[in-house]
Amino acid sequence: MSSILKLLRLGIRKGRVTLRYPAERTPTPEGLRGRPVLDFDKCIGCGACAKMCPPNALTVEEKENVWTLRLYYGRCIMCGLCEEVCPVDAYRFSDEFELASATRSDLEVELKLLRVQCKGCGRYFTTKRVLEDAAAEYSELAGGYAGEFKDMIYLCPDCRRVKWSESLADAYREARHES
């Protein structure tokens, strides 16, 4: 009998603990993994996040001169790997969690970037922003070699390999020629 009284006391003394959602917005703790927001200006289109995303919520489609990144919130498990792996920190976790939607298309984010053709064979191989980013970074790195290899980054990987092996062969011939 006593536990019934204790339960009764528990019921009455604790009062109503119900949160007044949706009238009031319930407080969300700092660091909540809500909706990952993609910053369109920062994203350079390297595709690392799409390779890393376990449920393939991020998918990349490369067609002709268009590089398309699609993020579908209906499959994103909010794990934060894209935020970790992005070289330019284009992902940020917002604390929005009210993502319900009546249609599937409202849950999609689509980013289209320009792709560039390779100077050697004309094939589309990367996005314009990746090149600009690489060029900016490359110039400080390469230092002495900037001149000769500066245009190497405008070649697609295959042409780059061909060009690199040719320049090696030339250097080798020259050295043999002088000796």
């Binding site: 536990s3 019934i4 339960l7 528990l10 019921g11 703790p29 890393m52 376990p54």
Partner: protein, 555 residues
């Protein structure tokens, strides 16, 4: 104190020619190779005579130079903290091996699964029916073989039927379908009861509703870094347990030592998960016997733990914290203090509620003497966790196979001998109390230092076993590391996989009213089990569990 070496020596002199080779994998884990013909006898000796707990059994498809299958039986000796893997080779072309199920019934499910997913036929197995794959899955298509491509599933046939077991005298009885969507059990599990009036005389279950082929996805599509996110989503309640068992197996294979602070945080996350899982079960169990206020009160206390988890990890469940190499998020000082205050409040509130709810007369009458499991049956079926500890089997992987920061915490493991649903309730209730104290200790003695250091090199083709004490029992991850930055074979054996074959054993003789709470008392996590199966089948009359034969029915 017998060490694992003594056990192997005893095996050697018991089977002079049988043991081919004994290898030391990592500390505490031995690999014993033997011929496949000796498997049943050695297994019976090791499991019944030497009293080893049956941990898991996995097959693997080796397409390397030797081009053959292997079959591994893993047994554990909790007192010695030893794990021994018994490996037998199955040549390609003659894919069969003698089944151990007639001698040790506990191997029943594992062998059926190997038959179904890898095509290794357990000769002499009493119940070779489907376990995981759906009714319409072709018999000769083996998904876990390396050759099977994930993207080429056969078309769905809607009318396929599952061959249910009808005891001979089923005619006059009333067949009661139970599930797959049952109000009280929130997971698809399908029982077929044969009832005489309201008394259950035979029970048969079909599952596989939750088989999502996560192991195939991990092998083919994922890498070492993303597998923890698959592991966590095996189960929505004890996700971190799987993440931890996988990371532990991988780190043991790579001989890697996680940083000290990460080990504290990992232990704390596991205990937070145990608290929320046990409170969830206490609420659901009381709801199952009609005490709805129990559900409301226990889940009110549980909600505070969910807020605490969200504060620390950013998500209420699926914390995404435990990955190979350590933990993904550090705990800032202000959060640690807030968490400490929160935990002491939860402790006070839980004790108050426990004292009020457990003493309730009507609740106790509904739980006492229901779903009894004797100590011998608990040992014979190698049941795990609270179900075992409620029947007097004192096993607890946190204490017997110490991992992470548990050696630094003081906690006892509550053990009851009642063996009925009430005993399981008491064990889980006081387990929760211990866990809250552990979280408190972890928060108070959190050492400084890094929380994550990347694993630089993982050697290929290393077999390793991870053991973690989840809320429902010991979760065993069997892992063979692969070459291209992902696992070669990853077998998850959740504790419910060991506990669920026992349910029809407890159900027979009970009334339909108690069926729900008996099934619930095992705290089945169907998605954890990922694959469940029929317990008993018909191999002539002595195997059928029916009212008359009941327990004697099983040798």
């Amino acid at each position: 104190m017998k060490t694992d070496k003594n056990i192997v020596d005893e095996l050697k002199n018991r089977f002079p020619g049988g043991i081919l080779k004994v290898g030391e994998l990592r500390e505490g884990q031995l690999l014993v190779e033997l011929r496949r013909e000796d498997l049943p006898r050695v297994m019976e000796y090791a499991h019944n005579t030497l009293e080893g707990q049956f941990l898991t059994m996995a097959g693997a498809d080796y397409v390397d130079s030797l081009n053959r299958f292997i079959v591994d039986y893993v047994l554990g000796w909790y007192e010695q903290g030893a794990v021994i893997i018994f490996r037998a080779v199955v040549p390609r072309g003659d894919e069969s091996f003698p089944a151990s199920t007639p001698l040790i019934p506990v191997a029943d499910w594992y062998e059926r699964e190997v038959k179904e997913t890898l095509g290794l036929n357990p000769v002499g197995h009493p119940n070779p029916r489907k376990l995981l794959t759906s009714d319409d899955w072709p018999e000769d298509l083996f998904p876990m073989r390396k050759g099977f491509r994930n993207e080429a599933p056969p078309p769905v046939k809607a009318d396929a039927k599952f061959p249910f077991i009808e005891p001979e005298n089923a005619g006059s009885f009333n067949v009661v379908p139970y599930g797959p969507y049952h109000f009280a059990i929130h997971e698809p599990i399908y029982f077929r009861f044969h009832v005489d009036g309201e008394r259950i005389t035979a029970a048969d279950l079909r599952a596989g509703f939750n088989y999502r082929g996560l192991e195939k996805i991990a092998e083919t599509k994922m890498s070492y870094e993303t597998i923890p996110f698959v592991a966590e989503r095996i189960c929505g309640i004890c996700g971190s347990v799987h993440g931890e068992a996988y990371s532990q197996a991988l780190e043991r294979a790579a001989g890697f030592e996680t940083p000290e602070r990460a080990r504290w945080i990992r232990a704390m996350m596991l205990e937070i998960e145990r608290i929320h899982s046990h409170l969830l079960w206490l609420g659901v169990a009381t709801h199952m016997v009609g005490f709805d206020s129990g559900l409301m009160q226990f889940w009110r206390v549980r909600e505070r733990i969910m807020f605490l988890a969200e504060l620390l990890t950013g998500n209420r469940k699926q914390y995404g914290m435990i990955v190979p190499g350590g933990v993904r998020r550090d705990i800032r000082e202000d959060k640690r203090e807030k968490a400490l205050r929160e935990v002491s409040e939860i402790l006070a509130e839980y004790q108050e509620l426990l004292d009020a709810a457990l003493g309730l007369g009507t609740l106790q009458t509904r739980l006492r003497g229901v779903g009894y499991l004797s100590n011998e049956d608990a040992r014979r079926y190698s049941v795990m966790g609270p179900v075992a500890r409620a029947s007097g089997v004192n096993i607890d992987a946190r204490r017997d196979y110490p991992y992470e920061a548990y050696p630094h915490f003081e906690f006892e493991t509550p053990v009851q001998t009642g063996g009925d649903v009430l005993a399981r309730t008491v064990v889980r209730a006081y387990d929760t109390l211990e866990s809250i104290k552990i979280v408190k200790q972890a928060l108070e003695t959190l050492p400084d230092g890094p929380v994550h250091t990347p694993i630089d090199y993982i050697p290929p083709d290393v077999t390793s076993v991870g053991l973690v004490e989840g809320p429902r029992g010991t979760d065993v991850h069997y892992l063979i590391t692969g070459g291209e930055d992902t696992v070669y074979r990853w077998r998850v054996r959740a504790p419910t996989y060991a506990n669920l074959p026992v349910t029809p054993l407890m159900l027979v003789g009970e009334t339909l009213a108690d069926a729900t709470v008996v099934i619930g008392s095992v705290d089945p996590c169907i998605s954890c089990t990922e694959r469940m199966m029929v317990v008993d089948d018909r191999t002539g009359e002595e195997r059928v569990i029916s009212g008359q034969g009941s327990l004697e029915g099983i040798k």
